[in-house]
């Protein structure tokens, strides 16, 4: 395995090599039923998996399983982040599986994205959770918790900590030794997040993640093997393209739409997006656009247009020079994003009303009050 310093492994984009190296299977080899029913499988946004066939086998036999996917509290929740949660919603709708959502404030803290763990970061974590639940999650199907506030997770992490050597963590994450001890232990905490539903509820789990995060899966599968716990399955999700053409990045505002951007900002970002359009209107009409290179089309395909026929119509019309980016597609995307945001804003109120029901632990009363008063 290639050694990388400073977590560069997380930035690897040579997906095919990663898949070959670590025995991840292409999604084509799964049974076809799921591809019909679930948008993100049908559109091949879910590109690969490991052991997800075993989970589907359980589902067929009416046996329980769970999805686990975390969220580190931050101010930058954007639409790219939401793909995983929309996928989880679809899987829940089809299979009725439970969703475990650790709010990994500890991860953000040890990797120095949060300077402290205090009431402010606690509130931020809860607010992120509200935004995610507002996508349509029902409280009964969700186990959410703040990782640093959940003793059970630290007890499990301690339990698992004897099963991972420093050298194995170093190799997987490309550590140099100058990292703090919290980042080393965090691999154990992450294993605890992933395996807790199996240990405490006997639910085999599936983790939807990016291929570049597979290192964590491999560390956790090592632990599971040593502890005779069912190995966690994983499904690998493609990222939404950034609006400027490169990767989407939370720290580069023009590449993404934050969930709380105002309409004016959203408009500006989308109207400036890189498309597959030609240099002139004349060329566009004569040669047609290139949807494969277009970030707006990528957003349609990956997220906003669920109807296959409608999408194909746009693709054809674009190629035939019938669509003009700034007049047709960008305003269409803008409207779809606004609609999505409006729906979500409405739902937030309902979520806040039932907030405690989503959590595995009580929410600090002063934080709950602050949230309900704003």
């Amino acid at each position: 395995m290639k050694q990388n310093s400073n977590y560069d492994i997380r930035k690897r984009t040579d997906y095919e090599n990663i898949m070959r190296e670590f025995g991840i299977e292409e999604i084509d080899k799964l049974q076809s039923e799921i591809e019909q029913d679930i948008f993100f499988f049908r559109r091949k946004i879910v590109i690969a998996h490991r052991d997800f066939n075993k989970i589907l086998e359980r589902a067929k036999n009416g046996l329980d399983w769970a999805i686990i996917s975390g969220r580190g509290p931050s101010n930058d929740l954007h639409i790219g982040h939401l793909i995983v949660f929309e996928l989880i919603l679809e899987l829940q709708k089809k299979f009725g599986c439970k969703f475990f959502m650790p709010l990994s404030d500890d991860e953000k803290y040890v990797f120095r994205k949060l300077k402290a763990l205090n009431n402010e970061t606690y509130k931020l974590a809860i607010e992120n959770a509200i935004d995610i639940f507002a996508l349509g999650f029902e409280p009964d199907n969700v186990h959410c918790y703040l990782s640093s506030e959940t003793p059970r997770i630290y007890r499990l992490a301690l339990d698992f900590s004897v099963n991972l050597t420093y050298n194995s963590i170093k190799a997987a994450l490309g550590f140099s030794g100058e990292e703090n001890a919290g980042t080393v232990f965090y691999s154990c905490v992450q294993a605890a997040h992933i395996l807790q539903p199996s240990v405490d509820y006997n639910f085999p789990v599936v983790v939807p993640i990016g291929l570049d995060q597979d290192v964590y899966m491999r560390l956790t599968r090592d632990v599971a093997g040593k502890r005779k716990i069912t190995a966690p399955a994983s499904i690998y999700v493609k990222y939404l393209k950034g609006l400027t053409g490169g990767p989407m990045s939370s720290s580069i505002p023009e590449t993404c739409v934050y969930i709380r951007d105002d309409k004016k900002t959203i408009k500006k970002k989308i109207m400036s997006a890189l498309t597959g359009g030609r240099d002139t209107l004349k060329e566009q009409k004569e040669l047609g656009g290139v949807p494969e290179k277009c970030t707006v089309f990528n957003w349609f395909e990956t997220f906003f247009i669920r109807d296959d026929e409608e999408l194909e119509q746009i693709r054809t019309q674009c190629k035939n020079g019938k669509l003009i980016c700034g007049k047709d597609c960008k305003p269409k995307l803008y409207n779809l994003v606004c609609e999505y945001q409006d729906k979500f804003t409405l739902k937030r109120k309902e979520v806040i009303k039932n907030l405690e029901k989503y959590f595995d632990h009580p929410i600090k009363p002063e934080i709950l009050e602050q949230i309900r008063c704003t």
Copy 2:
């Protein structure tokens, strides 16, 4: 600093070098009052300190401070282990300070001295605590807790984990990289044990330890410095000699008397002890014994004979050939050890009655019942 692999640093016995390297002060430089009043200071069993003068200064001004000293659950609690706790009792008697006692089941687990953390190890930890309290501790002055069962400690350890790099822990403890992640994080847990009284109660702390364990103090003082917490003071305690002449070791039964040895075993061990006696009775009478080389005399001096005059009398009589090891000193030590054990066995019952009062968290009811029924 000399690099050692496999925690060899903990076995260093070149005390003078350690003291010079790390700026630990000899005990002679402390004010004399404590040397009069406290047995273990007077006898120079406490050989050195760091910042204990500051603690004494606080005491003079009527300000609070605390002692912290842990105990990893094990079957091998022996008289050598008890010196520290007897010292703490004396300090409490003089200064009324609080005593924090983490039962570090997590340490034993990550360093693989316990195979699992379960009800059995929980009970063992509580039983060790009972044995220690039976030395004469009052519940009001004690904060005891099982480390793995105390979320507050893990929260603090997480907090502190950003202030210790892997490399600094590696250098201090002589790690190779093949150690498990739990041992790396344990330095943070230990810092949490030591600093919790300062963080949560505003008590500056003193830690009584062996000089060979000073590495942990230095790591924790690093953390304290970075977090603007009062640096923990330390006092360094000499070990009791092993009965066979070498160091006392829990894993070599003939070197020590376990607190639960039966009288027959105690007799056998003491009667086989290495003394400073001569080869023949004739030589003994003519040349006298050598108390400085005698393990029995070491036990008198370090622990069992508190009266200075009585001790000097034994020393003189021995040197003058008036005492015969097997007839005089060994039976005397045997009687003193038995008396000590009897007193302690009596006290255990009282401790068990008030057990919950010593603990900062509830004791599992099933364990409490088991303990009360045996």
